[in-house]
Symmetry: D2
Subunit: 299 residues, 4 copies
């Protein structure tokens, strides 16, 4: 299948690479020529413009940093929708605000182009291994069209409903994942200040309904053993919380804990933790309050 | 072993019953004579005063509603410490503020009496079945003294550290368990307003680090199937959050999400949800915001 | 002086009218032809396009609803900057996010066009009477150019600094004005629940540093006497809080009270108070919590 | 008139002194003998026990640090109510939680003793000059009894309603006064980060409904000119916020901004600002976020 692929950043590059390796014929575009050159080594064709990449594919994948850029690259005068073939399908895998998704989907439909939103779950390291999780919003026929691509890039695919559902599901999911970090930070800062033994506290928490995925799965290999190299940065988590809080306010859903969490991430960023792994919210809070960081004793 | 047992409420009664059934000789006291009479049917001896129950035991168990009552019953002029035998051990299983625990432990030590704090985890229904979880703060020798009682009343025992550690661990644990309810409420209210399918949203969340114990274990059999009969009420959860937020403020640990969560529980109580199960925080938020309650379709 | 004026909504119309009445020669544009016709009665010239209005003025005033619309109307392909005369000055009086202001100012400068941001304080009724307050960001020479217009539309003019300073000052100002409403709502809800007499409570507050402008100046003639007809709606206040919280997060300034206030406004909107005066935040909180609304006894 | 006076701390000492100077015959008690000795120089009689001071007065004034101490000193076995003469009046001027006030008032009534709550507004420096403000809860006849004392100690007296109303009014008042500090801190931190000129920002704010008493009256002579010597410390402000938030939660009044403010004060205390003036909340936030402190240029 011919695929246009626009956006070869930290996530887009391995995703495009996996498509190439699994036999898709890619025409790729990015503002960074080195990223394009890297994909050309895998037999992708480099395109100098968005328009060229858009025109080349039965499916055009976009993997871009934020709503404004997606709006411009997909919906702009020289963008994807202006140059994609009728009958093709745009597969936007960026994490953006759902109203932008809805607007672009309507514009696509008016031009006889399909539109699927399929933001990506899990970390960049999963994308490297073709083990991403996708939350997909698509009409059934468009879902069937893009499914082979998704299977080439990831290992878990959720068809969440019509177009727009993927983006919205990701916001709900990432709210819990990201806000849990600040909630855990508060719990562990309290445990530390109380002079409790971290290992014992965790043993208790892991055996009750107090447990959560961040605390049980992610943190023991990251912040709790002192590794705050980013799998997913506090800056990116803050970006997601911003999308979540904005979308919730637009939809008149009061989310006071989400709002409190976002300000905590803002504090962490103001204090220089923005580039650290989002589990380092524990360190950021302990840093603010003068509390010893939570660390597991070496086995 | 001779055991004094003071406080035969919803939790204390099954705990004392389990002790009786497993061969401990109990002398029991409560302000409610019916509760005492019920235990007498299980061969416990009823005591008309706290002092009498305190004097009768090698271990004196207290299971009482709040810090002020524990302060009075244990530390008061006619209380447990004033009448317990030297060498006996007070086993306080109430959930109270840790500074009260510390103060009573010091008073006990000054009188040659041991003090153990062992607040109870899990629900009243677990206590009925002798399947409670205990978080224990105790010197090693006192822990050994009370261990047989704990084994008779529960199935999971965590020795968290010296006296005071049980109470503090419970606060950390219950913060996560209780605050998760409001976090989940916000997530599901957003999902509902977005028009997502609840079953699909949950399927996604259950497969990522967004998952938490409330959402995965507790809620599917409670609020999500429309059962808000209390296992643990919003009023009690609010009481715990109050202890947590107060203890954190006393210890100078900033917990903005905890504070936001408590106000959400306060809102729920103001709106008449106080007697509902704490999973009904989902309903309380949807009620405030005019959103359809999250309910799983019947299988 | 020849003036282009784009945006004849609830605020723009009286502002343009005051300019006409005081001798400026206006060329006006709006998407609503009735608003244009109304101004034509005051000798303004109606323009069918933004471009036509932009080309007609030595100063081009824009008074538009939000950042996206300003971006398009001022910076778009058929927008003000594309058609304004070199040497003219754009006077944007909309309330928008400051990064948009900065971006448009740079684009203007590149074309040899001046740019001034001068968002409007006070209410629509003040605009009617030519008594608005303006917070102006401008280079000194551009400030001198627009000053006669500002003097024709308002009675208080603050030159806050270079371009961008007007918008930023308005955000700081409106944060305090708007967030005070929720703070006052919490105070008065507490007073009501406590059973205190509203008049006495206010008498005390007015004599201490607890006082604020909303409580002292605005509320006695609005919500406290039962008038919640909008001078400034909760929806608009929520829009301003959104700009504030977003700008603060972008600038890494943690504002936990602002974030909490915004969720309270979101709750009020979810409950149908969005079209009420922003002093009705007091009613919204009392409505949520089942508390009697605060009302002054009739004199 | 014979007056018992218990509690000669930073506030109690000048209040008692003013009573002595204006002709009241005081019998004073404090745990600190030096404070008692100081009053003896003003012809007060020192009492070795609370009981002795209580028995000596037609009115017994208590000015104590917190609810627990008032409970013990007034309601305890060797306390004021146990030893006061029938027909005397207890005038509690401490700032405590209103439920304690109500409980003690009921105990007093049962013994034929009057009870008045009259917590003190304004700063210690006002108490020195006899210029305090009092918020009084009292039955009319008891109000008349204590009025001469209040007039000797302060310059503004508000009779807010029946017993309990003084304490409750103070909580409402201090919520606004104290929470305003964090609100102002957020506003000025934003202004500083935006690069605005502090003097200009204040000039704007002072002319709109954004103004508040802290910003206008208190701050220009304190934090904004670099003086953070305590008139009223962040620790005491945090104590008041704690009373407010607890009382609101007990009364089911959701106060999300109050809760957010309290965590901000907790952060400031964790960072060592607890002993500074409460206007230094501005410095505490700027310190956390790496923002230059707001300071007025020297005239």
């Amino acid at each position: 299948m011919d695929v246009g692929f626009i956006g070869l950043g930290r996530m887009g590059r391995p995703m495009a690479s996996n498509l190439c390796r699994k036999g898709f014929r890619l025409t790729v575009n990015d503002i960074n020529p080195e990223a394009v050159a890297e994909l050309e080594l895998l037999q992708a064709r480099g395109a100098g413009t968005v328009a060229e990449a858009a025109a080349a594919g039965q499916v055009i994948v976009t993997m871009l940093p934020n709503s404004a850029i997606v709006e411009q690259v997909v919906g702009g005068a020289e963008g994807v929708l202006a140059h994609a073939r009728p009958g093709s399908v745009v597969l936007d895998m960026s994490t953006i605000d759902p109203e932008t998704t809805d607007r672009l989907a309507r514009q696509a439909e008016a031009r006889g182009i399909g539109f699927v939103d399929a933001p990506v779950g899990r970390l960049a390291s999963h994308a490297d291994r073709g083990e991403s999780l996708f939350m997909v919003g698509a009409a059934p026929e468009h879902f069937e069209t893009v499914r082979p691509l998704l299977e080439a890039m990831g290992s878990t695919i959720h068809h969440c409903g019509p177009v727009g559902s993927g983006t919205r599901t990701k916001l709900v999911n990432n709210f819990l994942a990201v806000a849990s970090c600040q909630m855990n930070a508060e719990a562990l800062a309290l445990s530390q200040r109380f002079g409790l033994t971290l290992e014992t506290t965790l043993e208790v928490l892991y055996g009750t309904t107090a447990v959560n995925g961040q605390l049980k799965i992610a943190w023991p290999t990251k912040v709790l053993k002192g590794d705050t190299d980013p799998g997913f940065t506090i800056d990116l988590a803050h970006k997601d919380l911003t999308l979540i809080v904005e979308a919730a306010n637009a939809a008149k859903v009061p989310m006071p804990m989400a709002a409190a969490a976002r300000e905590a991430f803002s504090t962490a960023r103001a204090r220089g933790f923005g580039g650290r792994d989002f589990s380092a919210m524990a360190d950021a809070l302990c840093d603010v309050a003068g509390i010893e960081k939570p660390r597991l004793r070496q086995a």
